[in-house]
């Protein structure tokens, strides 16, 4: 039986050439690539790449003519060198960034797809965007008129008004920083990044702004409600911890104040309840006295 013939497995070149088209990647790989892509197109990274290409490594090495570039190890399909030639360092950076983008695109193109994964990817994009300092700062450019904000607070309440202002300011901020990303994409001859991606970035900026304004607003409210003494103490402690190379931790101070406020509120509510009960008792007694007097007058 052991010798019963089974045809041997053979290598198939055509099959191998379609390997990446035929095989899918896991959810974590797709989310990882989405995060990488978000980081890649974040304004801080785009700015960093721009500085590297224009003022850093991009200015090093010999100048390669367009012909030399095409035969060099840095040449990639679809990339072109200007007529006056290209610095070797610049060509190297172009190739590196091209490879990075190609690897991300390849992983994303092997996604299994589906609504759940799409939603998770959108969440990952938001997470990636919120980690970029320029994105966060741009969501707080004060372009929303104060009077209109006051009107919204009156009509919608503080949280909803903050969300509306956040969406507007986040979208405006994203629109303002988008030229950095779009410009760098053009510089890198990245044809995959176009106005549709810019529009998506602005949308994400809006969502991000809404979330940040509501989140930071709540945080700010919590801190603002603390007593002046607690705030001063927290700031002093933070400075002291920073100067002595310790980790900044003022949570116990804020927490103690919160507990104190909670106890005070509880006491206040107790007193109010007591006062109300006394008032009710007095009313009841008055009514009884009045009934007795009325009956005696009648007889």
């Amino acid at each position: 039986m052991v010798d019963v013939f089974v045809p041997e497995i053979e290598f198939n070149q055509n099959r191998q050439n379609t390997y990446f088209d035929a095989t899918k990647v896991g959810t974590l790989d797709v989310l990882g690539a989405t995060l990488e892509e978000t980081f890649y197109y974040n304004p801080t990274n785009a700015l960093d790449r721009f500085l590297q290409m224009q003022f850093g490594e991009g200015r090093t090495g010999n100048i390669l003519s367009p012909e030399q570039y095409k035969t060099s190890e840095y040449f990639r399909e679809g990339l072109e060198a200007p007529e006056e030639g290209i610095k070797e360092g610049y060509a190297q950076l172009l190739a590196q960034n091209y490879d990075k983008r190609a690897a991300i695109t390849q992983t994303l193109s092997r996604s299994k797809g589906g609504f759940g994964l799409g939603a998770a990817q959108f969440g990952t994009m938001l997470l990636g965007s919120v980690l970029d300092p320029i994105n966060v700062a741009s969501a707080f450019i004060p372009v929303f008129p104060a009077a209109r904000y006051a009107h919204l607070v009156k009509n919608l309440g503080l949280t909803k008004a903050r969300a509306v202002r956040g969406v507007v300011e986040g979208s405006v901020g994203a629109t303002l920083v988008e030229p950095i990303v779009l410009g760098q994409a053009a510089l890198e001859q990245d044809e995959n990044y176009n106005l549709l991606d810019s529009f998506l970035n602005v949308t994400i900026g809006g969502v991000l702004g809404g979330g940040l304004h509501v989140g930071f607003g709540k945080l700010s409210d919590t801190i603002e409600r603390r007593s002046q003494k607690t705030k001063e103490q927290a700031v002093l402690t933070a400075i002291k911890q920073t100067l002595t190379d310790q980790e900044v931790n003022v949570t116990p101070i804020i927490k103690a104040d919160l507990e104190k406020t909670f106890e005070k509120n509880l006491e206040k509510q107790n007193n109010l309840a007591q006062e109300k009960a006394n008032k009710n008792r007095r009313c009841y007694k008055d009514r009884q006295r009045f009934t007795r007097q009325f009956k005696s007058t009648k007889t």
């Binding site: 041997e8 497995i9 290598f11 198939n12 191998q16 050439n17 390997y19 990446f20 899918k24």
Partner: protein
């Protein structure tokens, strides 16, 4: 030998193992009278027979046709018509044999199926699943050492620790178009071993069950290509190294990786 135009799988079994007593049973189970008796069984029993035979031969079928039941969009490369034909022919043979044991003997359905599949296949092979990709490797019972130790060794070859990555980085694979360095890492994380047709060793295959080809260049710039394969003898030697290496599992795996790298 029965008078027919072609040599059937049952004939092959008889030819390859003339002393195996199951061959006689196989010919009997193919007799028209026996087949008619099996066919006369209630449909539920026949269906149950088919399912149980498939179940008991699942490992063998997968080891032959290349893990069709793994989560993959297409049948793998190894599932060529001839290989699939073989595993289906073996299932049909086992069905007839189990049916014969069931109708002619005093065995329950489960016992009849077990006896048939054991006599045909399972008494001759052990099945192991090295690596994370659940690839089924069939090991002839004649190998030296325990199946578990073979699984440990083959799993070490597919481990993506730094030392193994270095070994793989030094190998030149024939890679797909637009590889971008991903193919090798996917072989390490999702590669599978498939038993060679002559049961003398294993071949490393990718996720589509395409064999991994290693390319090398000699001093005269002659390029040679060979399939990434390991014989069971080499694996047996590696099991001894695995067992004799003191320390953690990682240390044992590294020792095995260093030993086997010269055979790649």
């Amino acid at each position: 030998m029965r008078r027919r135009d072609t040599i059937s799988l049952a004939d092959n079994i008889f030819l390859s193992e003339p002393n195996n007593l199951v061959a006689g049973d196989l010919f009997t189970s193919n007799a028209d009278t026996v087949k008619a008796s099996v066919k006369a069984l209630p449909k539920t029993e026949r269906d149950s027979l088919v399912l149980k035979v498939k179940e008991n031969l699942a490992n063998y079928s997968e080891s032959i046709s290349g893990q069709i039941s793994t989560n993959y969009d297409f049948a793998p490369q190894s599932a060529t018509t001839a290989r699939v034909d073989h595993s289906i022919a073996m299932q049909n043979l086992a069905y007839d044999l189990a049916g014969f044991y069931y109708v002619a003997g005093n065995l329950s359905l489960d016992e009849a199926v077990k006896k048939a599949t054991d006599n045909l296949i399972n008494n001759k092979f052990d099945f192991i699943t090295p690596g994370d990709a659940d690839g089924v490797v069939r090991l002839p019972k004649s190998i030296v050492g325990s199946p578990t130790s073979y699984e440990q060794v083959l799993t070490s070859v597919l481990k993506d620790n730094d030392e193994n990555k270095d070994i793989f980085n030094n190998l030149s694979f024939v890679t797909p178009v637009n590889d971008l360095g991903k193919y090798k890492s996917e072989v390490l994380s999702a590669g599978k071993f498939i038993t060679k047709s002559d049961n003398s060793g294993v071949i490393l295959v990718d996720r589509t069950s395409n064999p991994i080809i290693i390319q090398s260049e000699d001093e005269q710039a002659n390029i040679t290509q060979k399939v990434f394969e390991l014989s069971f003898e080499q694996v047996a030697s590696a099991t001894e190294i695995y067992q004799s290496t003191p320390g953690t599992i990682r240390a044992k795996q590294i020792a095995v990786q260093n030993f086997l790298k010269d055979f790649y």
